[in-house]
């Protein structure tokens, strides 16, 4: 299914990064980095610690001004935009930061309401409360989490609440920064399942930064590998392994990678409708 959609929308580029350069002082993080993300896909971004995965995300969403390069999202440049500009783009994306980044003085449900109130102030308050309610439940939080403050939540619940806020506006593009880090395997699998199901139902494009090999195998249509200051390869996991790059080999074929493959194969054997990834491109 994902394959067919991808082929059809091959040219429909949502995020385009060209010649990106980022540096902090003398330390160059990115140089000449190119990346395209297509509509409707879940792209996983992997790379060793310190290869600038989060910096790449921050550059794309305009929180970090790059030294050089072009970045367009939905066909519009995001570089050097003020917070108040590019409102149209901001309505169309949702971002989940690593720690959830919930507003600490607001309850979970009020956190979800913030973006809706900001962009659609004329919305009926009753409808607004209803929307916040079902978003909270939809992201797998218990119903009594609504009036709680972020400080009262566990790490996993914070992530779900952050996701609920990221999804508040029903965005087309979702950025997830290590969503499953720090979650237990059951919670992480549930989160993966949630992401996949939201992507399927809402036609989301997902930009997923992760270290979680299970997530990569379970939900990503394509994987971009960050190394040597650039994206060294993009493709399905099978294609990446076929590339014969030592780091990629190590990453996917290491003990953890093998375990993830084994899990995946069992799951595919169990469910007949598991998406076929082998023929993606």
């Amino acid at each position: 299914m994902a394959t067919a959609a991808e082929d059809k929308n091959k040219k429909d580029v949502v995020i385009s990064v060209r010649g990106l350069k980022n540096s902090f002082g003398d330390q160059v993080v990115h140089e000449d980095l190119d990346l395209d993300v297509y509509r409707g896909e879940i792209i996983g971004v992997v790379g060793g610690s310190g290869t600038g995965k989060s910096v790449l995300m921050r550059s794309i969403i305009g929180l970090q001004t790059p030294d050089a390069g072009d970045i367009t999202v939905f066909g519009e440049s995001t570089i050097d935009r003020e917070e108040t500009e590019a409102v149209d783009i901001r309505k169309r994306w949702g971002i989940l930061f690593q720690g959830g980044a919930l507003f600490s003085t607001l309850t979970v449900a009020e956190n979800v309401e913030v973006p809706i109130k900001e962009f659609y102030p004329e919305l009926d308050p009753v409808l607004l409360d209803e929307i916040a309610s079902y978003k909270v439940v939809m992201t797998g939080l218990p119903a009594d989490a609504g009036p709680k403050f972020p400080a009262e939540l566990s790490g996993g619940m914070k992530k779900r609440a952050g996701l609920a806020r990221a999804l508040a506006l029903d965005p087309e593009l979702l950025f997830l920064d290590e969503p499953t880090a720090g979650l237990d395997p059951i919670g992480a699998a549930a989160f993966d399942e949630l992401t996949k199901s939201l992507q399927r139902t809402m036609g989301l494009t997902v930009f997923l930064i992760t270290h979680d090999l299970d997530s990569l195998y379970a939900i990503c249509d394509r994987v971009a590998v960050l190394a040597d200051k650039k994206v060294i390869a993009v493709g399905t996991i099978d294609e990446l392994i076929a590339l014969d790059h030592p780091w990629i080999e190590e990453y996917f074929k290491g003990p953890r990678g093998r375990a993830a493959i084994a899990t995946q194969e069992t799951q595919e054997a169990m469910s007949a409708e598991a998406p076929q990834r082998t023929g993606a491109e």
Binding site: K91, S104, T105, T107, A109, E110, E113, I116, Y120, D124, L127, D129, E130, I131, A132, S133, Y134, K135, V136, V137, M138, A143, D144, A145, G146, P147, P150, A151, L167, L169, D170, S197, R200, T201, M202, G203
Partner: protein, 366 residues
């Protein structure tokens, strides 16, 4: 690209046909119009829509629930989304419940009282813990010399500039105000008494304490609080390093030992500032000024200042470290605790200062 959401009924058959984009951006006043619709409805036909998102689905679901109508005509993906939204229909409260104002005020008073009591007990406990830590340090001879000296620099040496400037200006202000008032009696010469005695006995130490509370007490609370948040303190405990010995004792020692020095320094600079004003505005030459100071300021004033200073220092250091150690859960607390450290420090210093005033006058150091 796409049209606003709309619906039309076909008169009597009881079917509402929807068209356009059922998404947040295109929803417009559809919810209001649906709420105002009062015809009989059996079926909601969604086959004509271009796109549906969860908010559109929710609006339809609400309406279907209200009228008891069936929803049909959705694509497979659309139906999946709709089902998910329906499955998420559970009552969730948005905010915690509102309590009547009278009850809330009572609750807040009770809460504040309990908190004040807890803080007092906690502070006493902290004093005990610090004493035990000091005892352990002396018994086991594992004094952290480097950490303490480093605190000395931060608390003392780097504060010299700002405390000097502050004291100099305060000296000038005392002298100027004193001169204006005393001139009415032709007693300008007593300005010198005023500056000398007030600086050494009260203001030098008190103003220094306020400055140290603002500079170092707050810093202690913020540093220790942040370390608590990042679990550094827990890590220290597991390694066997006592945070009381490694973090708290050096800081409290630093404020306790440096307050007398800073207070005395502050008083001297204030006297210099006052002297400058006396010279310029009253025409009292520096030599006369210094001679007069030596005559009118009893040595007991110096003792009073020097005895109070370490006590103030200990209070400020203890309030800062205590509040830092109280930080839990989130970053917001660091800010609250830092504020509390400064407020508590200054408040306690002034309370103790009042006790000292009574004490010294009753032992005859007037």
């Amino acid at each position: 690209m796409s049209d606003a959401a709309a619906f039309s009924d076909d008169g009597t058959a009881g079917t509402l046909r929807f068209s356009g984009c059922l998404s947040l951006a295109k929803l417009g006043d559809l919810p209001d119009r649906l709420a105002a619709y009062d015809g009989q409805v059996q079926r909601l036909d969604l086959s004509g829509i271009e796109r549906i998102d969860t908010i559109g689905a929710w609006t339809i679901h609400r309406f279907a629930q209200k009228t008891g109508a069936d929803v049909e005509g959705l694509t497979t993906d659309g139906q999946h989304l709709f089902d998910q939204v329906v499955a998420a229909d559970q009552p969730v409260s948005i905010r915690s419940e509102r309590v009547p104002a009278f009850q809330r005020v009572l609750g807040e008073i009770g809460h504040a009282t309990i908190q004040a009591g807890n803080t007092f007990v906690g502070l006493l406990g902290f004093l005990g813990a610090t004493t035990i830590a000091l005892g352990a340090i002396i018994r086991h001879r594992r004094f952290r010399f480097n950490a303490t000296v480093q605190r000395f620099e931060v608390v003392g040496v780097s504060a010299l500039g700002i405390i000097g400037l502050m004291s100099f200006l305060i000296g000038i202000v005392i002298a100027q105000q004193g001169a204006v008032q005393l001139r009415q009696f032709g007693a300008e010469i007593y300005t010198i008494n005023l500056v000398g005695r007030l600086s050494l006995r009260e203001l030098g130490v008190l103003m220094t304490a306020i400055m140290v509370a603002g500079r170092s007490g707050s810093a202690f609370a913020a540093q220790i609080g942040t370390m608590k948040l990042t679990e550094e303190i827990d890590a220290m405990r597991t390694i066997g390093v006592s945070p009381m010995e490694a973090l708290v004792v050096p800081r409290i020692l630093a404020t306790t030992m440096l307050m007398p020095l800073l207070g005395f320094y502050s008083a001297l600079i204030a006297i210099i500032g006052g002297g400058l004003l006396c010279w310029i505005s009253l025409g009292i030459p520096p030599v006369t000024y210094i001679q007069q100071i030596r005559e009118v300021v009893p040595i007991s004033d110096v003792y009073v200042g020097l005895i109070k200073a370490p006590v103030f220092g200990a209070i400020i250091g203890m309030a800062g470290c205590f509040q830092g150690m109280q930080v839990e859960a989130d970053a917001e607390q660091v800010g609250l605790r830092t504020t509390a450290a400064v407020v508590q420090g200054i408040f306690l210093v002034i309370v103790i200062d009042a006790f000292f005033a009574v004490f010294f006058s009753s032992i005859g150091w007037l």
